[in-house]
Symmetry: C2
Subunit: 343 residues, 2 copies
């Protein structure tokens, strides 16, 4: 275990300094109490406590890196359960690794907090580390400051050179697949915002999809060498698939009524089912393409990963996204993805 004497430092501030400690939990105490863990893998040659963490590099491997920032009131409710928030903050990043077929290695955590709320920190770190430990992903550094609550995690994974699942690799004739089910996260969100009412048991069944997404890491790893293109569904299938289409210079046809709705959404009217499976967001399932000749291999990967997958369409040479109903008739839905600066 590397010596621990604080977070990775290097902050500046414009507020005049107070040269005396007023007895509150200090930044260093806060880190030591809630974020200091024994190192449990060999990737981190040096963890928390120096100017930088050090990760050992491996010949023949690439390091996959993704960063996400979660802002109070925008990405989570002000009264969000801190355990679930800790989970989700890391889950959305692990989901990006999953979408590349990368194995989680480590992460950094930079966050601002309005103040030191010890019960909150204890629950937040418990949720964060429960998921981190499940994926053997080590916290190697971070930064903590005072400010409006927001959380920035940067995650690191390893993938052999040439095996990463990229967005630009879809080919005409590929099947389009999605993992798990879609739309229950969006359904719960709408109920919480009182767009509509849901029975309490239905909301209770759908809400974990919103608050505790499960990154499809095992599936991403199992799909190496099988899938062509992949990404994770954060902003809604139609919009996210559009990124694959644009990067690959292809189009696609989706069978909208074949999309696997979450069990709660599956009981809803068909218009809502279509909209939320297609443009719901927050699902953190994988969408990927694979050659039609690899259907058995895809199903085998799904078995290995213990993750259901559903074939929902095909990649076409012709650009654009075509939506079909159960009868194969064109559907004209305006379901683009969410954008943070235009809504």
């Amino acid at each position: 275990m590397p010596p621990f004497n604080g977070w990775q430092c290097g902050k500046s501030q414009t507020a005049p300094r107070c040269l005396y400690n007023h007895g509150m939990l200090s930044e260093f105490d806060l880190i030591a109490r809630y974020f200091k863990r024994p190192a449990h893998r060999s990737h981190a040659a040096l963890g928390i406590g120096d100017d930088c963490a050090l990760l050992t590099q491996e010949a023949g491997m690439q390091l996959a890196i993704s960063t996400d920032i979660l802002v109070e009131g925008r990405h989570f409710f002000t009264d969000a359960d801190p355990f679930m928030l800790g989970h989700k903050s890391l889950a959305v990043n692990l989901s990006d690794l999953a979408a590349m077929g990368a194995e989680p290695v480590a992460f950094t955590l930079a966050f601002s907090l309005p103040g030191v709320d010890e019960p909150w920190l204890e629950r937040f770190s418990a949720g964060l580390f429960a998921l981190a430990d499940a994926h053997r992903c080590e916290l190697v550094g971070g930064d903590t400051t005072k400010g409006p609550l927001n959380i920035c995690i940067t995650v690191f994974g390893r993938v052999p050179v040439g095996e990463a699942l990229q967005r630009n690799a879809a080919l005409p004739g590929d099947d389009v697949w999605v993992s798990g089910t879609l739309g229950d996260a969006r359904l719960a969100l709408g109920a919480l915002y009182e767009e509509y009412a849901l029975p309490a048991d239905a909301l209770a069944a759908a809400a974990p999809r919103l608050h505790m997404p499960q990154p499809r890491v095992a599936l991403g790893l199992a799909l190496r060498g099988i899938a062509h293109a992949a990404l994770d569904l954060s902003d809604g299938l139609a919009g996210d698939l559009g990124h694959i289409l644009k990067a690959s210079g292809v189009g696609a046809t989706l069978e909208v009524d074949a999309l696997p709705a979450g069990p709660v959404l599956d009981e809803q009217p068909i218009e809502r089912r279509r909209l939320f499976t297609l443009a719901g967001g927050d699902d953190y399932e994988l969408c990927f393409t694979a050659p039609a000749t690899k259907r058995d291999a895809v199903l085998g990967a799904a078995l290995i990963a213990n993750t259901p997958v559903t074939r929902v369409g095909r990649i076409d040479a012709s650009p654009g996204l075509r939506l079909l109903d159960a009868q194969g008739q064109p559907l004209n839905l305006h379901a683009s993805s969410y954008d943070h600066f235009t809504s």
Copy 2:
């Protein structure tokens, strides 16, 4: 150049989605316009536009990682010049690489913005990239969302295995050195907060040290194999040196009146000079220790890096930090470092 079709995605949000674009600059347009750059080095096998960036790993090297979050009103003024803010956001991270003796490779940028202010974004990205280009450090990914302005950068550097300058490597008998000069950043900050008045020309001379810190990357590289322990001075020499002492299990004696004050601070009363050189913060100079037998090598490294260095004390076996005046008499100053949660 890797295909560009957006930022690294993977955000969720609690606000109900708007399924139509209202004509504002979208997140993807924003990134394409202000943060899309041609790739100029070989480290990034895949840059902006996929779920993750991919960095090529190298046998025999370690990846140094540091992350910092800068919050409006705490780390910078609300009306901060965006060019200087872009510079400083990256500079404080490059300074962490410098302190490890790591060569900059790449960085990610996650930030929340209250809205799309194109002139602001243009200046911010210009300041950011001017510094990034000077250090051949490539932006490989990020995340953008709406929220209170804050900026989270995670930076990556490379260092041969075993050559990183760590905090735990100081030995009794080592000299203590600092680069450049100390205290002008703190002096400017106090004037901006009206703790005291400074003549306009003095403030103008000192303020660049606060707003445009220059990370000592070249010096950090030149000190590999020469220095024992190192860190960068963000929170003030006394507090930051304390991290080296604690990690190394040693103490130190500093000659306070030998500390190299910035040229503006050097004209100030001795009490202020002592306090701000010792506990000023925001300097982003390096503090390092090296064997007394390596004094010529240290001066040679400083020449190579074109960075002045000053010997300011020595490492002792006995714990604690002892402060001496110019006559070698003990000084009893209470100069601890700034803490974000206790002031």
